[in-house]
Symmetry: C4
Subunit: 181 residues, 4 copies
């Protein structure tokens, strides 16, 4: 099954500035999450975010926070985003069945969010080059665990080409120029 | 399930000369696609090709284009080859149920073609050493995504030995001499 | 499916001091098993252990043995822990359906225990960074074999975050301070 | 599902001396196949072998040939051993449902034999450290293809510990002394 832009939303999980320095390849993580949020905007796909206990751990990385918009980012205390009532209502309001997941950490909030979304009947696609953890081994095993559960692994470019589907789509020129090197 | 030469056709996806320089290990890609098309000829297996937006991006690498034959290569604007009417009719005319897929890029036209062919009921075999992308991580995750969907991973030599099945097949001497080192 | 602390128990398989020197990355193995037993204590999750032929091969590494408690460690002669009557009764007495498995060696007692527990209807979670073997290739293939059989692969941190589920859980402060670097 | 020695037989595929020099890590291949045949003897598990076109390509490596016994090695022209009538009858005569496969080359005769045995209803276990090919990439993709088809991946030591099951089995002392370092 491929992604369809009309059915999709993007979930950015807990990319909080204060936690980034300890995360493996965190600059690549932020860059690729940024790429995905801008792509979602280009394709008219809604993006929502979450933050783990923002009162104590602070907010999402500044650039991402601006792109997603403060009002679309939900503070939470449970590790699984979908088990937060605010996030859940926001998701339900969009009524879309395919979720593209990126963020951190792979073995904690990303995996729990993805697994619980899958259990709730969503079609979950985790972006393998836009998640990370302090220890890359946690990312590796998280990918295998999610894969085994039926969650799909994608890359950021897969998401782009699937949302577009055709090179004569109206957004392709911008995609080709701004998103591919 | 193994490949059978009477049921097979080969699909060469978008190996366009102008795009090759940016592709990871592109010389190996061209060499292995070439190997597969020549093998198809030896085994009387039909080969068809596709090109993404050839008016803008140019044609298939010269050697491959000659081998497959211009008339068998379909220009397209959708990323999935099977969703192009010309490619689809050509495929339907052969009425064969097993497709061997090679070409580029793994995460874009190769994966979308393979997934859509699988959804259309074809038995899809992707040649892991005859696909590539600009970023090898895209190839790695594409292979996992296709594998999870039920698409089979093969190598070029697997294809050869499965189409042959026996060392007393009439084509084995030529295979052994020209295709194995 | 995620782990739930009320349904879980921890099984420490055969981390016997005399065998450790030949085991790949054995210091990491002991450290991560230790981490898991302490986590189980923090979360009120029962932990039981096994030892392969202790009369001949000696006992569990001292620190682990104290943590789990001698009375909870069962000597056995079969490689699969659950096929030992003492271990089995102990497990049945807890009446919990999710088992978190760590220890050694991956390809022998860990894999046989995990496979047989799975056959007995338990939900088995093997901790990929808390098992080992003399040859790391044995660990790699064991993980694939167990994965294929439907056993889940986790990391020690996945176990921690799943047993906790929320950052406002009463044990989270201790977890964050003592178990994460 | 674990191996049971009463239900098992060992299949040694095409380890022919003349072809060995071109095979990746061929000394390890021969050593590990030798280990498995001696283990089969220790455990009273029957072993049968195959040779691809022996009139042209010569016989099995000398040490292995002696261990398995000439009478138990079947010359063939099809790549899949089970499709050779002599091999098939030999296999049927044993009436055992679990087959442990080792030999070469991974992507040709090993994979075709394993896939066809699986299709015939046997429970197939391929020994990942006792198969090889000229190109290790062919072995890697063969393992994934067989795994996807439901064939189990094992290591030589897994086979040993599963056939034994207990450290008080009568053969354990010999196993421990002669087969483990």
């Amino acid at each position: 099954m491929l992604l369809e832009k009309e059915k999709s939303f993007l979930a950015l999980i807990d990319v909080q500035a204060r936690l980034l320095p300890g995360v493996h390849e965190h600059e690549r993580l932020v860059k690729n999450c940024n790429w995905l949020v801008r792509l979602a905007h280009l394709m008219d796909v809604p993006a929502i975010g979450s933050e783990q206990y923002p009162d104590g751990l602070g907010h999402t990385e500044e650039g991402l926070r601006e792109l997603v918009g403060e009002a679309n980012i939900h503070g939470k205390t449970c590790f699984s985003s979908i088990d937060d009532p605010g996030f859940y209502q926001s998701l339900k309001a969009y009524d879309r069945e395919q979720v593209v997941v990126c963020g951190m950490e792979s073995q904690a909030c990303v995996m729990q969010s993805a697994m619980r979304m899958h259990e709730e009947g969503l079609e979950v696609f985790v972006v393998a080059d836009a998640i990370s953890a302090r220890d890359p081994f946690d990312t590796e095993i998280s990918l295998r665990r999610m894969e085994q559960a039926g969650i799909r692994l994608v890359t950021r470019e897969m998401v782009g080409f699937e949302w577009l589907r055709r090179s004569d789509a109206s957004q392709f020129k911008a995609f080709s120029k701004e998103f591919l090197q």
